[in-house]
Subunit: 288 residues, 2 copies
DNA sequence: GCCGAGTTGTAATAAATTATACCAAAATGA
DNA sequence: TCATTTTGGTATAATTTATTACAACTCGGC
């Protein structure tokens, strides 16, 4: 099995993601989400960041086709070197950066653009496709749920999916009642969890139960990966830091929209009539 | 001799350049010319690149104020991690544009970045400030509501505001019941409406009623402006087109988060204790 | 021309890192 | 349920790396 040496390392990782063991995949995701810095650390630092043991990191690197860890780092550095060739473009298009508010907006925009770039750079195509595959499969039921803030995204996703297909629900209400929803799900079905920093214990618990029941978990999370990542079949991670007291869900929403766009395209031929039917229902006059 | 820890390393080098010996200066220049990769190599690789001996490199690092070479590397990495944001990134590290999915993600990302830029460039600071002013004024009640999809953002906004202040609600449920909520609002209060393309007639109706009652309307809408714009006291518009069957709410969410960030900052001194109280309540065990 | 402060490289040493062998635990399938 | 395979961590060995001591060299001043 010879890998294409010309490919960038991040590409190599994304392509080889399928051949990795679960824990190795965790390492891969951490690296992609913190590319390339994580790989430039020592093995143990990297391992610690990914919450795995050092040998796992080494096995990961080895499976990528590198002869040794230093070899791997050399490759990363040489890639970084080429990338940095272009002069450090700092100057930015700016609106009124004179006013305090203008500056704030500028900084905020900067961070968001950044988060978007990093996020899309690190999303493995295979992972993205896998999620779209699942959402496009009408035989699989889909349940969505999220944390305190991210639940809005879970809701948004379920709205969109419900328009183009059946069998989609959003889990709301008291967390005590969540698990009841799982009763309806079987091995082929799918639980979509949104969980970002200040990870919700309630969600982790739900994920554990779902995992026990062999329900496939699709996880939308931040760059540091929610603990649920261990139980998840597929992970889509977004970058969330912004100059604010709170984390940003912009990049996460971007991922959701990309998935929705792709799924919609896939199901369009059949969704179209469904949409028309919905439209008709919507215009039926109601009392009030 | 303590150096300013806040300065970037490259800055630190430039400042200290005078105090270095000739050979050390050579090292400094090599590092600046191949920043930061050269410093991420091993001492001997770095030394070889600079055509000096290993101890010279170490003396250089030491004179910069670092306790050890690994320490120096850690600093470089952490700088890189933060800085990987703005520069360049796009071109080099971009994801597999070879695969169809890679192309799709690239196009999508491109559109979103574009929307963000256009949105932030066109937001009037005064309008932004005005909205923050309103949200920061605890005497004003705030009601949020949105359309089919944008309601998720309305919900998100209300969640955030409710954490830092009282008097915030989200209007849900049947549109027939919406107007009941307006009974609670007076002239000084505020109705926040999210309305993007395929503008909802229901919302326009609600806006008309609110306007009649002299309730101030804050409108989050798309670049073409919902018809509600005529009734609105303040408008924040975002760009929404993406290569998808649906419009994107990413830039709109970005605006919401910017407003929330600013409002939070404004109210923080008092919100902090409120947050602590909420946290306590949250941890009270519940049945189940 | 010799001396001494300052500078640089060589070589030996100490410290860390990476790599491996092995075992336990989990997953898988009959 | 049990046997078999896969997977992941621990402990340790092997290697590389950073560090230090010291000697050689350079350059000014006397």
């Amino acid at each position: 099995m010879t890998l294409d040496e010309s490919a960038t390392i991040s590409e190599r990782i994304r392509l080889g993601l399928g051949r990795l063991t679960p824990t190795e995949r965790k390492v891969a995701h951490i690296l992609l989400a913190n590319y390339p810095v994580a790989g430039l650390e020592t093995v143990s630092e990297f391992a610690c960041r990914a919450q795995v043991s050092a040998p796992t990191v080494l096995r990961f690197v080895s499976r990528l086709g590198f002869a040794s860890y230093p070899d791997f780092q050399r490759a990363l550095r040489s890639e970084l070197e080429q990338q940095v060739q272009s002069p450090l473009v700092k100057a930015r298009f700016s609106l009124e950066s004179t006013t305090p508010t203008g500056q704030l907006l500028n900084r905020f925009h900067q961070s968001l653009a950044d988060n978007l770039a990093k996020t899309f750079r690190s999303v493995p195509s295979a992972e993205f496709d896998a999620v779209v595959d699942i959402f496009s499969d009408r035989r699989r039921k889909v349940l969505t749920i999220g944390g305190r803030f991210s639940d809005a995204l879970a809701l948004y996703l379920s709205f969109h999916l419900r328009i183009i297909r059946s069998g989609v629900s959003h889990i709301g209400g008291q967390s005590a009642n969540w698990r009841d929803h799982l009763l309806d799900l079987g091995e082929r079905d799918c639980l979509v969890i949104f969980d970002i920093r200040r990870y919700a214990p309630d969600l982790a618990e739900l994920a554990a139960i779902a995992s026990d029941r062999r329900v496939g978990i699709v996880l939308f999370t931040d760059q540091w990966l929610s603990p649920i990542a261990q139980k998840a079949a597929h992970i889509l991670a977004a970058h969330v830091p912004v100059p604010s007291r709170w984390d940003s869900m912009v990049a996460l929403l971007a991922l959701v929209e990309a998935v929705v766009a792709s799924t919609t395209e896939r199901l369009w031929s059949t969704a179209e009539s469904r949409l028309a039917a919905l439209e008709t229902m919507r215009h039926v006059p109601r009392g009030g």
